[in-house]
Symmetry: C2
Subunit: 414 residues, 2 copies
C-alpha cells in the first residue's frame, strides 16, 4: 500500500523558550516559533500554502484557529485546527504531511501553540477527562499513578525500588534539560536541592540535612506526594510554548537545505479509556502506532538511534521505551537504572530534557519533540549533542492516559 513515505521532507523548524512565559501572549509565542522556522529554511510567510495548527486549550478561552492568521501574516491560505489532547502537536504534523503527500500543497506549516498561564484556562484536571462517565473523575497524575503501581507490582518492584526507578528518569531528564537553552527547568535536581538549602539559610529557617539528591527526592516536604506513587518531581510542569515545522514536497526539499530530514513513518492509534483496558503496564495505542510507523518506514526498533518519548510522568517514559520495542516488557526500568537511556548511553531517550524538564505546553509538546530530533540529526544540539551519525530517530506523543498515540520516524540521508 502507498503511504506518505518519500513524499514529505522537513526543511526548517522553530521553537520558543518553554516555560512560564509571562512576557508573551499566544500571538508572541506563535510568531517566535514560526519565524525561527522561516529563518531556518530561508523562506517567509508568503511561501506558506497551508497551515495546520495544534492547540488544546486556546479555543476554550475564546481564541479561534484563524485568529493566528493575522499575527503570522497567513491570511487567505487554509488554516486548520487539529486537536487530540496531548497528541495534538503530532496530529498537526501528521495532517500537514497528508496535505503535502496528496499533492495539494508544496510547502506547509505545522504549528503547535499553548498558552496556559494567565489566559483564564480552567485546567484539564478532574471533570475534564476522556470519558464523561468514569475517567472524568480521575486526574492525569491519578491515572498515571495507577499505571506506576501496576507496573511495580507486575515486575516485582517494591515501593522503594519503584520510587528509585522513576526518580532516575527525573534525574536524567532534568540533567538533559540543563543542556537545552529552550527547556523550562535548566537545573538538575541536585542543584534544586542546593537552592532550597541556600534559600533556607538566607531566610534563617532550619537548614534541611539532605545527604544527596536521592535523599531530597525521598523527603515528603521537598518532593510531596501528588498521586501515589507519583511525587512532584515525577510530574511534567504547566508550560507556555510554541513549536513550528516547515514541510515540503520531497522533490523540492533540496532547493531549501542541503540536509532535509525525511518523515518515513507515521502511525496513530486509539484505545479504550484506562478503566476498560486489560493491561495497565503498557499503552496499547502506543504499541499499535509504533507498529504502523515501523512498518511504513521499513525499520526495526533496534535501528532507532534516538527517541523523544512522552514522559508526561516519569513512569510514562519507562512504559514508552517498552511499548516502542526498544526493550522487552519489564526491562525498561532496569535499562533506565543502568544508564542505557542517558545522553551518553547506547540508547539516548529524551535528550531534550523531555516533557519533564523541557516542559509540556500540551499542543506544542509533540512539535517540540520533532524540533529536538531536527537539531540532533543535523548536529546542531550543542552541549547535549548525541555523538555519531544519526540517520534514524523517532518521536512518541501520547494523548490522555493512552487513548491515543502518534509515532513518527525520521530519516537523515547521507
Amino acid at each position: 500500500m502507498e503511504s506518505i513515505k518519500d513524499k514529505v521532507a522537513i526543511i526548517g523548524m522553530g521553537c520558543t523558550k518553554f516555560g512560564e512565559r509571562w512576557d508573551a501572549g499566544l500571538d508572541d509565542l506563535a510568531i517566535e516559533a514560526a519565524y525561527e522556522a522561516y529563518e531556518d529554511a530561508g523562506i517567509g510567510p508568503n511561501d506558506i500554502q497551508a497551515c495546520w495548527y495544534g492547540s488544546v486549550t486556546q479555543p476554550m478561552v475564546g481564541i479561534g484557529c484563524t485568529h493566528l492568521a493575522g499575527p503570522l501574516k497567513l491570511h487567505g491560505i487554509p488554516m486548520t485546527r487539529v486537536e487530540n489532547w496531548c497528541t495534538t502537536g503530532h496530529e498537526a504534523l501528521r495532517n500537514a504531511c497528508f496535505g503535502v503527500a496528496c499533492g495539494m500543497y508544496d510547502m506547509v506549516l505545522a504549528l503547535g501553540v499553548e498558552k496556559l498561564k494567565d489566559t483564564g484556562f480552567p485546567g484539564l484536571g478532574a471533570g475534564r477527562g476522556m470519558s464523561p462517565v468514569l475517567e472524568a473523575r480521575r486526574t492525569a497524575p491519578g491515572s498515571f499513578g495507577m499505571i506506576a503501581t501496576r507496573y511495580f507490582y507486575a515486575y516485582g518492584l517494591s515501593p522503594q525500588e519503584g520510587k528509585r526507578v522513576i526518580g532516575k528518569i527525573a534525574v536524567k531528564n532534568h540533567h538533559n534539560g540543563t543542556l537545552n537553552p529552550k527547556a523550562q527547568f535548566g537545573i538538575t535536581i541536585a542543584d534544586w536541592m542546593k537552592k532550597r538549602v541556600a534559600s533556607a539559610e538566607k531566610k534563617g529557617k532550619p537548614i534541611p540535612t539532605w545527604k544527596d539528591e536521592w535523599d531530597f527526592l525521598h523527603d515528603d516536604r521537598a518532593n510531596p506526594m501528588i498521586a501515589w506513587p507519583l511525587r512532584l518531581f515525577d510530574c511534567s510542569p504547566i508550560t507556555d510554548g510554541a513549536a513550528a515545522v516547515l514541510l515540503v514536497a520531497e522533490e523540492i526539499a533540496h532547493n531549501f537545505t542541503g540536509s532535509p530530514i525525511h518523515i518515513i513513518g507515521s502511525g496513530q492509534a486509539s484505545d479504550y479509556a484506562l478503566h476498560d483496558r486489560k493491561d495497565l503496564t503498557s499503552i496499547g495505542a502506543a504499541r499499535l502506532a509504533g507498529q504502523s510507523a515501523y512498518e511504513m518506514a521499513g525499520v526495526k526498533p533496534d535501528q532507532i538511534q534516538l527517541a523523544e518519548v512522552h514522559d508526561c510522568f516519569t513512569i510514562a517514559e519507562i512504559v514508552a521505551i517498552e511499548d516502542l520495542g526498544f526493550f522487552k516488557p519489564g526491562e525498561g526500568h532496569r535499562m533506565a537504572e543502568e544508564g542505557v537511556t542517558a545522553l551518553n548511553g547506547s540508547r539516548p531517550i529524551n535528550s531534550s530534557g523531555g516533557l519533564k524538564s523541557k516542559g509540556h505546553p500540551v499542543g506544542a509538546s509533540g512539535v517540540g519533540q520533532s524540533v529536538e530530533i531536527w537539531k540532533q540529526m543535523r548536529g546542531e544540539a550543542g552541549e547535549r549533542q548525541v555523538p555519531g551519525d544519526l540517520s534514524l530517530a523517532l518521536t512518541h506523543n501520547v494523548g490522555a492516559t493512552g487513548q491515543t498515540c502518534v509515532v513518527h520516524i525520521y530519516e537523515r540521508r547521507a
Copy 2:
C-alpha cells in the same frame, strides 16, 4: 499541480434527525449517523481504517475525540479531531480526503457530531468570539446584522426592502425543510403562524390578526428583533445532530456502489476578523475557497446545478450565492426574490432546508450539507428531489463571521 481530484470517492452517508434531541446523547447521535452510512455502503466498522471527527464543543464539556472509538467500535484505528468553528464538518471531510488521497488509507469515516442541549455547554456568544481583543465582544447575530445592514446600504435597499428580501430566504428554507424528514423545523412559516393563532384560541388569549406570513414576520412580538436587522426567523437554531461520510480510494469505489459521488474540488481559505475587513458585503474567505475549488475541479460557477450554502443567518445565503459566483455582487437578493433559488427555480439553493430550517449542529452542519448533495445526486431526495440529471453540485461551509470557509465540489458520473 497535483491535487485530490480523481483520488477520492464517497460510497455512503448517514445523518441523524436534526433538532432538540433530548432523547439522545453524543454517543447515540454518532452511532445513528455512522451506522446509517455503514448500511448505505454495505460495510461495517471493521472496514474503517481511520476516522476524522469534527466537533466544536464536545471537548469543552470534557469529552475527548477518542471517547467515540468505544461506541463506534473503532478502537485501534487513528481517530483525529478537527475543529474550525462552523466549518468543522467540512474540515473533517477535507482532512479525510487528504488521508485517502495520499495513499495512507483506502476507507475512512468523516464524522461531524454536536450535542448542544443538556451537555453543560456554556454557549458560543459574546466572550467566545474569534479575536480575543475585539470580536469576542460581538455575538454572531450582531456580526451578521452588520453584514446585512451594510449589504442593504451598498445595494440601495431600504430597511423595508431588506427585511422582505431576507424574509424570502426564511420562507423558502422553511418550505424546503418541510420536505426533509431530517430537518429540525418541518413546518412552513405560514403554518407556524397558524399554530400560534390556534394556540391563542385554545388558551383564550387575544387572537392575533396576521393577514399572512409576511404580516407575521413583520410583527415585533411574533418575530422579535435579535440584532438589527435580523429577527428570530432570520437566525438558524441551536441543534443536536450528527452526520457521516464514507470515503474510499477512487479505484475501489465501484466495489461498494454503482453510483459513487466524486469529490473533484476542495478549497479552504482564512480571512481577517470582521472589524479588519475592507468590505462587509462579501466574505473574502468564501470567494478564495470557491476559486480554489473551481480551479481544482476545472468547472465554472454556472455549471453547478445545486448548492448547499451556509445560511447561519438569512443574509448569509444572499452573500454566499454572490461569493460563489452564481450571481453578480448585488444581484443575489433579486434572484432570491424572483424565486431563482427556490426548489423549482433554475438554481436551487439549500434544498435541504439549510441551516435555517434543517438545523445547525455546528460541527455536524457541514457534513449534513454533503448528505443532502449525496441524496440529491443519487435521486433519493424524495419530495424535495431537484428534477433532472445532477452531475455537479457544491457545498459552502463558513466559520465564525467569515474568518474561514471550505468549499467542496461533487461530481456524479454517468
